[in-house]
């Protein structure tokens, strides 16, 4: 899910582990005035709504007053500015998500194409116990479906467990869980990755150097992700751990199971975020009630820090009308060797324009950030990586999946601008990606190969 950064942090909040987790990402900006929330136009034409109420339920949006697309912008110049800002904000934040998603995919594809370790079959995770080495197609299909069912059930159980923990405020447990999982990613998986890369390029490295490198990498990573650090360094680390996780999935998931799991996980994401009793939605609502941010250690955020002088936040305006931006967490199990869960935040939020223009003199331009859950990074990269690994050495398939995922992300962000509530980021992209993978691999590849052999150009 994708979330937009918002300004629910206040300077008055006591500095505890949660606020310090925030400080790497969210600048404390004053809250938005109620009246200014009236105009919430997005990128599409037909949603210039006038919302005076505080609730942002989808019902309001769905059957609210939709103004005619041809109507010129009404209201004050302020609102027009906000609409324009919302639009620019929309395009800019699409790009702010394109870049990290692209980088993660590039890392995964480059590794898959060069390091042979990640395409060798060396066993399977315990979550996919059924082997696909059966002679008959039907049996193989059945095994992959069973693997998928087991994997999705594990994910559902972990998510529900996480939601229960969150509901009963077992924050320490959750933080310990997250710290353990990122420890494993940053140290163990990096060690394995580095070892394989060095093997591939036949570079010798002694253990003391290796220890120093891994120790520094891991320690700085832990600090950046769980505490404070430069935003770009944190983003880089999150991209790297997503890529590592995706590589693990690509290696250990059997062929057909991987594709069925990708499909099933996007359906699960859709249901978990949109159904009223879905675990992710419940997590979001719980976090909304408590007005707390959800664990930033597993969300990629693209917000920038602005240090313009800000007026004191208007605490009265903060309330139920405040756009909540907690991301729901989705517990996923990754590697079989340990039982840590890689939570995923996949929630999309509408932006909360935070220009305190009416009561304050200074015009601030804060950058509102977009947040995308790391699970989305991971599964996008799994799709593209699998396409790179198994598409008969064909780069066209990888490229097609890449473009399809980016377009899906773009459409999802467009829907976010329209609906302004938590939306899952996986379904559209993964659907496009799967469609383009299978069609490019089976239809386009023979055509392009035939054209290339005759050197014809279309």
């Amino acid at each position: 899910m994708i979330t937009f950064m918002n300004n629910s942090d206040s300077e008055e909040e006591p500095c505890n582990e949660r606020t310090s987790l925030m400080s790497a990402e969210s600048p404390p900006v004053p809250s938005y005035q109620d009246g200014r929330q009236a105009s919430g136009a997005g990128e599409a034409q037909a949603h210039r709504k006038r919302r005076t109420g505080s609730s942002r339920s989808p019902n309001n949006i769905a059957d609210g007053e939709m103004s005619d697309p041809g109507v010129p912008v009404r209201g004050s110049a302020l609102e027009n500015e906000e609409e324009e800002l919302t639009l620019k904000y929309g395009a800019k934040h699409v790009i702010m998500l394109f870049v990290p998603v692209t980088l993660c995919m590039i890392v995964v594809v480059a590794t898959i194409k060069s390091v042979r370790f990640y395409t060798e079959k060396n066993g399977q995770l315990i979550y996919t116990p059924f082997s696909e080495d059966t002679p008959s197609v039907g049996q193989r299909l059945l095994n992959s479906v069973l693997n998928t069912i087991i994997m999705i059930s594990v994910i559902v159980v972990m998510t529900v467990f996480l939601v229960v923990l969150y509901k009963y405020r077992c924050y320490k447990f959750i933080h310990g869980w997250l710290i353990l999982s990122s420890l494993m990613l940053l140290f163990l998986f990096t060690y394995i990755y580095l070892g394989e890369v060095l093997k591939t390029y036949n570079v010798a490295m002694d253990y003391p150097t290796l220890f120093l490198v891994i120790w520094n990498f891991g320690a700085v990573g832990m600090i950046c992700i769980h505490w404070k650090g430069p935003l770009q360094l944190q983003q880089a680390y999150l991209i790297m751990i997503s890529a590592l996780m995706a590589l693990v999935f690509i290696k250990y998931l059997p062929e057909w199971s991987a594709w069925v799991i990708l499909g099933a996980i996007s359906i699960y994401d859709l249901m978990a975020v949109l159904c009223p009793k879905g675990p992710l939605r419940m997590l979001v609502e719980t976090a909304q009630e408590r007005n707390e941010p959800i664990f930033p250690a597993l969300i990629y955020s693209s917000a920038m820090m602005w240090t313009v002088g800000m007026a004191k936040p208007d605490t009265a305006a903060r309330g139920p009308s405040q756009q909540t931006w907690d991301a729901a967490e989705d517990g996923r199990d990754n590697h079989g060797s340990s039982s840590h869960a890689d939570s995923q935040m996949s929630e999309m939020r509408s932006p909360v324009p935070t220009r305190p223009i009416t009561s304050l003199e200074e015009l601030e331009e804060e950058e509102r950030g977009v947040k995308l859950g790391l699970g989305d990074f991971i599964f996008y990269s799994v799709l593209v990586g699998k396409a790179a690994a198994t598409a008969s050495g064909d780069w066209n398939t990888t490229l097609a999946c890449f473009v399809a995922i980016l377009i899906g992300l773009c459409l999802t962000l467009l829907l976010l601008a329209v609906f302004k509530k938590a939306l899952p980021a996986l379904p559209i992209s993964i659907t496009f990606g799967l469609v383009f993978y299978f069609s490019t691999d089976n239809l386009v590849r023979p055509f392009m190969d035939t054209l290339a052999s005759h050197q014809l150009y279309i």
Binding site: I407, L443, L451, H454, L456
Partner: protein, 256 residues
């Protein structure tokens, strides 16, 4: 040696397009989105045309050589027509998008004009077309091998790179001409684009007689470039002033 061929062909094929991208498109997020969406539309058109070709091939006798050749020609022509159809669809989509952008802006004008969108859409189509033609070749050019060892042309990689470059440029110019034709209801411009595309694709049937395919393609590119330049408001006078580094509106000075 192979690395040199790889880098050389990459930069021949994609260098100008990369320059266009970096200097004109990379700064504006909206243009990047339009670029990627253009690439997506080209991809969908390729998908549909390969579906048709695949069905035709599967339904026919694989041993019959002339039939397969005929089906290939049909596939190429159909693909060209479908690409232009999708260019038209993309034009329709961008028109709607402009209306939305206008409605959302504060001063009633869109942050991007249809001409800029035409250019970016053309680059998107061109990049995707070039990438699909060239990427597999580039990957193969890295590996061990000898070009033309079985008697084929030894210039395969080089001519492919040049062909890709000209095709990227052509798509850019065709985008501008096509959108201009759609805007101003000049159907003959649209027809000219389709005919040019068919000509260029048809000329590649002369390969490996490269003089029959590269030379006409470059001539068509020069024509399309001049035409697109005229349609975008350029003129011989503008060109002369640009080349002599004259300031617009200022008195002409000797170029430094």
């Amino acid at each position: 040696m192979t690395l040199a061929v790889f880098f050389g062909c990459t930069f021949i094929a994609f260098g100008p397009a990369l320059g266009l991208f970096l200097f004109t498109i990379a700064r504006d997020p909206l243009r990047i989105i339009i670029l990627i969406a253009g690439a997506f539309f080209w991809l969908v058109s390729l998908l549909l045309s390969s579906l048709i070709w695949f069905i035709a091939v599967k339904a026919s006798d694989p041993q019959d050589e002339p039939l397969q050749k005929g089906l290939l020609i049909f596939g190429v022509m159909f693909s060209v027509l479908l690409q232009e159809a999708f260019r038209f669809l993309y034009y329709k989509l961008l028109r709607k998008a402009i209306e939305g952008l206008v409605a959302l802006s504060e001063d009633g004008c869109s942050p991007i004009s249809i001409q800029q969108m035409a250019y970016v859409a053309g680059v998107g189509f061109g990049l995707m077309s070039g990438a699909f033609s060239m990427i597999n070749l580039l990957a193969d050019s890295l590996g061990p091998g000898t070009v033309g060892i079985h008697g084929d042309s030894q210039l395969y990689f080089l001519t492919s790179a040049f062909m890709t470059m000209v095709l990227i440029f052509l798509h850019t110019f065709w985008g501008i001409i096509f959108f201009h034709g759609c805007e101003h209801r000049c159907w003959w411009e649209i027809a000219a684009v389709v005919i040019m595309h068919l000509t260029v694709s048809g000329s590649t049937f002369c390969n490996p007689l490269y003089v029959g395919s590269l030379v006409p393609s470059y001539l068509v590119m020069a024509t399309a470039a001049a035409w697109a330049y005229m349609l975008s408001g350029g003129s011989a006078r503008n060109l002369r002033r640009f080349l002599l580094c004259l300031q617009s509106g200022a008195s002409p000075q000797l170029g430094s």
